[in-house]
Symmetry: C2
Subunit: 202 residues, 2 copies
């Protein structure tokens, strides 16, 4: 297997952190988005949607979508569990991971895509939509702070894929100047705890 | 258990179709979004994000996010399998379901939310963003037509949750006048086949 990756993009980072938590080593191939390498025919043959990461399997097939890749590795190597331990726990971890995707990671990524100079001329930017998302991101971070008053990690007392999604999403707020408010002590405590894990440097 | 549902909303419909395919009967409670019942305190206590559907468990906890709810029922009753049959198949079904969410259902829903009169005054609409998504939706339907030239269903030869997501998403294009192009014969063939299943009326 090998993982098509780009060091500066948030979605491949989610998978790298997941693999680091599992202690799984997969060779990576860098696909430089800045140089539009993901739009070249040889990469589009792997993923016609041009997204990263892509896992190339030994049979030559290509698995895309960060969470699908993580789910495959969770099945290959269940320990430590990052996606739940029984049917109901798995459902709640999925709920929290999706909430982090749609309510935290999503608005932060949409702000970046629609307001940052990097994407000017690369995609159709709608600045007003970026600002709607910036406000949504701040609102959701305030909500997440109240949730984290009740437990250690996003989905419960165990670190999970939902923490990875939320942490990568929040860290990706920096270029858009979306940061954790100093008043949000629970969120700050959680962010520092996740940042201190060795996997955060993956 | 009971399922908080709204007949006119696309996400609860995904879960209703999933349950119909499984032959599982869960009592439903209608939450009328048009009357803003999802914004009332008693519903927000169930889901602070105000989204539908919500599955109320017998222990009083609330599971949200359509796919998390489906995954729980898939574990409770694996037959017929709608989310894959082994580790790799499950990963590919998840890949296709996510592609349908992010590339088909998502752009169609964003077009509706940002351009339809229903949401005027309810959410901050950005018409230009709606039109970006309308163009993306048409482009992705053309892509999906090419994918469906190669196989019977979205994720392979077996009907799966990815078909439910795509079909509900495409059907939700009607109020925004996003429809399958007559030239897209594979997509049309698939759409008619899924529409003919009894679950489509769930």
């Amino acid at each position: 297997m090998k993982l098509y990756d780009f060091r500066l993009a948030p979605n491949p980072r989610r998978v790298r952190i997941f693999l680091a938590e599992k202690g799984i080593d997969v060779p990576t191939v860098q696909v430089d988005i800045v140089k539009a390498e993901h739009k070249q025919p040889d990469f589009l043959a792997k993923n016609p949607l041009a997204g990263l990461p892509v896992l190339e399997l030994d049979d030559g097939r290509h698995l895309t979508e960060s969470v699908a890749i993580c789910r495959y590795f969770e099945a290959l190597q269940p320990e430590p569990p990052l996606m739940g331990v029984d049917a109901l726990d798995r459902a709640f971890v999925e709920m929290w991971n999706r909430r982090m995707e749609f309510e935290v990671f999503g608005p932060i990524a949409q702000t970046f895509r629609n307001t940052h100079a990097f994407f000017a001329g690369r995609i159709p930017q709608v600045a007003e939509w970026g600002e709607v998302n910036r406000r949504a991101a701040h609102k959701r971070l305030a909500w997440l702070d109240t949730e984290l008053a009740e437990r250690r990690f996003v989905a419960g007392d165990r670190f999970s894929i939902a923490d990875i999604t939320a942490w990568v999403g929040i860290d990706f707020g920096k270029p858009s100047d979306i940061r954790i408010d100093a008043a949000h002590k629970n969120l700050q405590r959680w962010y520092e705890a996740v940042s201190a894990r060795p996997s955060a440097r993956a």
